[in-house]
């Protein structure tokens, strides 16, 4: 019987959540609220009641995110500053995008998106190098690149939003209206989701896998821009002119991003499982942890995808006269949902773990991909504005 003094300190703080926040946390909240009120006052003529609600709702979500995940603050501030700089440089004239040096080469939406593309690809290469060489420094560089790419992607979307209004007040809209724009959203969303896990599990080896799928998305963005000239801002068809787009599409892409992340974790899992003492086993977290992150990603994706589908149904009821029409996109959303519902049941109720679920998550990405891109390419229907 050993007798030792209790060494565990009571680090578990029981003060209520709000009281635990520091001055910096409150400054962050203040900053977001101030920015939101300013945006509201500046642009209120373009917003209806719902959109004002969405604006303040997203501000609240951003404050909460910044409290729970501190790097979000620096990220948001960087995005805000660069976007404001671009808006200031434009000063109400779209033509300055060609004449102003900073806009033309850095922060006009198209330039920012190109920077994002380059940085994501570079980050992918660096992550892979870090994984193989076991270089911690390279890993940090890769993380920094991923953060910068995400900043540039977000700036690209923000500035694109502004540019659409500069093209004409009746053309202006949030840039989540076609395949080109949502692919950027997809890349940024997947990267940000990955970065939360990178921090939480303090492991950068997963980045080599996740950034690969982001690079594939970047490849599509580049092809779509250069081959199809899809980067031009297009006005909205009447059916899309609704506040619903602002919540339905982003919610969907949290889902898609999380599913993509889970699939890449599945790939990592399967590769590592083959060689239990190989390189990957030395760099990646344990199989159990990979399995657990995979579950968390799918749970998150499923929750958001559920919300997105419900919002989509409500929008459909308002725009097309019925909350469900068995339109190909709707049906594929259901298929994706059923697929992950089955996955979750297998894991939570049947107690499946590991290999079969990793395979299933990878197949799930293809199902998701078809719902996201394939439907627009191969099937016609009400969602045809997203077509290739």
């Amino acid at each position: 019987m050993s007798v030792t003094t209790e060494t565990l300190s009571h680090e578990f703080d029981t003060t209520p959540f709000l009281r635990r926040l520091s001055v910096l946390d409150w400054l962050w909240a203040l900053l977001v609220v101030a920015g939101t009120v300013a945006a509201h006052r500046l642009y209120s003529e373009w917003m209806d009641g719902y959109e004002v609600g969405i604006l303040y709702g997203s501000a609240a979500a951003l404050v909460w995110l910044g409290w729970g995940w501190k790097p979000m603050r620096g990220f948001s501030v960087a995005v805000a500053l660069l976007s404001l700089a671009a808006i200031g440089l434009y000063g109400g004239e779209l033509a300055r995008g060609e004449s102003n040096f900073f806009l033309k080469f850095l922060i006009s939406s198209q330039s920012a998106i190109m920077w994002m593309s380059a940085l994501y690809v570079m980050a992918t290469v660096t992550y892979i190098f870090a994984l193989i060489a076991g270089s911690g420094f390279s890993g940090k560089v890769a993380s920094a690149m991923t953060w910068s790419a995400s900043v540039m992607g977000s700036v690209g979307l923000m500035v694109r939003w502004r540019e659409s209004y500069l093209m004409g007040a009746d053309i202006g809209h949030i840039p989540v209206s076609n395949l080109y724009e949502v692919f950027i959203l997809f890349a940024v969303m997947t990267a940000l989701l990955y970065l939360t896990y990178e921090r939480r599990y303090n492991n950068r080896a997963i980045g080599a896998f996740v950034l690969t799928v982001i690079s594939a998305a970047v490849g599509f963005i580049l092809w779509y821009a250069f081959e199809r000239e899809a980067h031009h801002i297009q006005p909205l068809v009447p059916a899309l002119q609704s506040y619903w787009m602002k919540i339905h599409v982003p919610a969907n892409f949290v889902g898609y991003g999380a599913f993509a992340l889970a699939a890449m974790l599945g790939v990592a899992y399967l590769l590592m499982e083959r060689r239990p003492d190989g390189l990957l086993a030395r760099r990646l977290p344990t199989l159990e942890v990979l399995d657990d992150i995979m579950y968390k990603a799918i749970a998150l994706g499923f929750a958001f995808f559920t919300v997105a589908t419900v919002l989509g149904a409500m929008w459909a009821a308002e725009a097309w006269g019925g909350y469900w029409s068995w339109d190909p996109k709707e049906t594929w959303a259901l298929i994706v949902w059923l697929n992950y519902a089955a996955w979750l049941h297998l894991r939570l109720t049947k107690g499946w773990r590991g290999k079969p679920l990793a395979w299933w998550a990878i197949v799930g990405l293809f199902v998701t991909l078809f719902a996201f891109v394939g439907v627009n390419m191969f099937l016609s229907g009400l969602h045809s504005y997203g077509s290739l």
Binding site: S2, S9, P238, A313, A319, W332
Partner: protein, 669 residues
């Protein structure tokens, strides 16, 4: 044991087995996957198209097979509904079987748990404290409450028991999310057309497949206002009204009566510079006899009008019967003055032409046509003015579709009048380019055509060429051959186009000499028509003594190009749009969906349920506090539902805090 008792038990047993099967996870997962796969089929195979399209695509055999499997309306097929029904039952059974246990689990703190069981927990700890048990139990209970736990504290004989839990709502998430599926299915069932299908199956309802006027639709294809759920559409021209909608069903429709009348006062549409619609809206009036006063409201896309449970949506727009004034120029022996035709879009009329009686069906009218043009590297949009789409139906029932543009189009700096033709809607239009003369009209073209169709004039030209250029005399045997083949070549070309000359060459000339022959045919035709062209110019008073200028030469080539396509063009007339009065029609969708709010309730339950399940964690803690040998022994155990690695750290922190609060001095006995 009596026989009845035995069967009773067996029944009970088979009932339990059935319940077991219906509630089994394997069945649930199989159903989820099966429905997903069936749904894929429905997206790959376009649903609810006209049956003819399917017959063309799959042939009559597979058409029948697919039809009997319900693949053309898969989401209403009995077997698909059966799958959904099974999912509903399976989910219901799951909820039914698990709910009591879950509720018990959420409410009970399990104060009576045995010490032995606690020791078997993965998360557990023990320590000792000098403090007496009862106040210590109070202190620790308070501590747990500060951590957000709900706490029960009971004194047993010889020991204190503190049981705590948090996140029980996550178990509620299970009930909510699964019950929501049932709720959504019930709502969806209320809004589905199952009653209509049953009525049809009983023979009380018949899907109408003929194209009838509303007043002609028989009662067995008409639904009264007692039909509680439907989704129909109707097109109302400006200034008109309707008290019905059409429900599309398979290859036909049903007429649904409304308890009120909807009138369209005005329709407005705005366009972007690209010609794409920017917004469209309808000023509607509802005339409801039960109400008296008419109600007015403007609806637009995304902004429906809900009246007495009927939702009216702006879904599309079309031509509502624009009145057109057309000029008809006969293409056989063209006259100098055209016929005037007054036509209405969506209506048809009879035309008598030299080629017999034709039916003219005006299909569509567009007041403008915007197409992108590439200009100096940048995209611009050009408006090509109004267009009219019509069909000309010959007496034998064959029809060709035409699209005619009102305004001339510039091609390489030269003005043309455009008319497109196609034999079936699946084809692309082939365009006839008619060159405009120096007056900007088509009169010279038509005069030229008339000349070219005059057999006498052609023979005359042939005669002169035989005499002047070949030096033949009328008595020469070659003379007859030469002039008659010349006339027939020109006749063929003018009547059937260049294709006829190609055919002729293929028929009469061996392959290696065909190209040569064809070019000599063309030369002959060009020669004859060229002579005629000069004569025409001279007749028009143009000075051609010094030959014709470049513009006139170009015009000649363009006319020849047009002539060569007149055969395939296949119309006895050339229609030109003169004036129009645009009438628009608004496409409305009117629905009644009493299940909508039930579905939404289900959706809210689903979203709440999913988040509760994933983001709240059900955790239980127990503290068994016992005084033994002058010291207080504390046994701390914890259980997390669906235990995950995450709980480890929380447990460690809780343990530290509790030990600290109980002034623990001794660790791990």
């Amino acid at each position: 044991m009596s026989q009845t008792e035995k069967t009773g038990r067996r029944q009970r047993r088979s009932g339990a087995v059935l319940l077991e099967f219906l509630g089994s996870m394997n069945l649930a997962i199989t159903l989820l996957v099966a429905i997903a796969i069936a749904s894929v089929v429905g997206t790959v195979l376009q649903q609810n198209e006209p049956y003819n399209n399917y017959i063309m695509k799959f042939g009559p055999f597979w058409f029948e097979v697919f039809k009997s499997l319900g693949l053309f309306d898969i989401y209403a097929a009995p077997w698909f509904l059966l799958l959904l029904g099974f999912l509903l039952i399976s989910t219901s059974v799951c909820v039914y079987r698990n709910t009591p246990a879950i509720i018990r689990d959420m409410r009970h703190f399990r104060l009576g748990v045995q010490e032995k069981s606690l020791r078997a927990f993965h998360h557990r700890d023990e320590w000792r404290s000098p403090d007496p048990a009862a106040p210590l139990a109070d202190t620790l209970a308070k501590r747990l409450r500060r951590h957000g736990y709900r706490v029960r504290h009971r004194q047993f004989e010889g020991y204190q028991m503190v049981a705590a839990m948090r996140g029980g709502t996550s178990r509620l998430g299970y009930i909510l999310s699964h019950l929501s599926i049932v709720v959504i299915c019930i709502g969806g069932l209320l809004d589905g057309n199952l009653p209509l299908r049953l009525a049809e199956w009983r023979g009380e309802l018949k899907v109408e497949t003929r194209d009838l006027a509303v007043s002609q639709i028989p009662p067995e294809s008409t639904l009264g206002t007692d039909n509680s759920s439907f989704r129909g559409s109707v097109t109302i021209p400006e200034g008109s009204r309707a008290d019905f909608v059409f429900l599309g069903m398979r290859d036909g429709y049903l007429l649904q009566k409304l308890p009120f009348t909807v009138a369209l006062e005005a329709f407005r549409i705005e366009h972007y510079p690209s010609g794409m619609p920017k917004s469209f809206e309808s000023d509607l009036v509802i005339i409801d006899e039960a109400r008296g006063e008419p109600l007015r409201k403007t609806i637009a896309v995304n902004h429906p009008w809900v009246y007495k449970g009927y939702a009216i949506y702006q879904s599309s727009f079309s031509d509502g019967g624009s009145r057109l004034q057309l000029q008809a120029w006969p293409l056989d022996r063209p006259a100098t003055e055209p016929l005037r035709i007054d036509a209405v879009v969506n209506e048809s009329s009879r035309l008598s032409t030299p080629r017999g009686e034709y039916g003219l069906e005006i299909i569509d009218f567009k007041p403008f046509n915007v197409f992108p043009v590439e200009e100096a590297g940048s995209k611009k949009f050009n408006n090509y003015g109004p267009s009219v789409v019509f069909k000309l139906r010959a007496a034998n029932g064959e029809a060709r579709e035409y699209v005619n543009y009102q305004m001339p189009l510039m091609v390489e700096g030269r003005p043309f009048l455009l008319s497109g033709m196609r034999a079936t809607p699946a084809e692309e239009y082939r365009y006839l380019h008619i060159p405009l003369d120096s007056d900007g009209g088509i009169k010279r073209f038509l005069r030229f055509l008339a000349l070219a169709q005059e057999k006498g004039r052609i023979s005359q030209v042939a005669h002169q060429q035989a005499l002047n250029e070949l030096g033949l005399t009328e008595a020469d045997p070659l003379y007859r051959d030469f002039t008659s083949s010349m006339s027939s070549l020109v006749g063929l070309f003018v009547e059937h186009g260049i294709d006829a000359l190609v055919e002729l060459a293929e028929k009469n000339v061996p392959e290696e000499k065909r190209n040569e022959a064809l070019s000599s045919y063309i030369k002959v035709v060009q020669g004859v028509l060229g002579t005629l062209y000069v004569e025409l110019l001279r007749e028009e008073g143009v000075d051609v003594a010094a030959g014709i200028d470049e513009q006139q030469a170009l015009y000649f080539d363009e006319v020849l190009n047009a002539f060569s396509l007149l055969g395939p063009y296949g119309s006895p007339l050339l229609l030109r749009l003169q004036q129009y009065e645009h009438v628009e029609a608004s496409g409305l969708q009117i629905t009644r969906a009493p299940g909508q709010n039930i579905v939404y309730l289900g959706c809210v339950m689903l979203m709440a349920g999913v988040f509760f399940m994933f983001y709240l964690h059900h955790r239980r803690l127990w503290l068994r506090i016992e005084e033994r040998e002058g010291q207080t022994h504390i046994l701390f155990a914890a259980a997390a539902h669906r235990e995950r690695g995450d709980f480890d750290s929380e447990f460690a922190r809780l343990r530290g805090d509790l030990r600290h609060s109980s002034s623990a001095v001794l660790s791990r006995i």
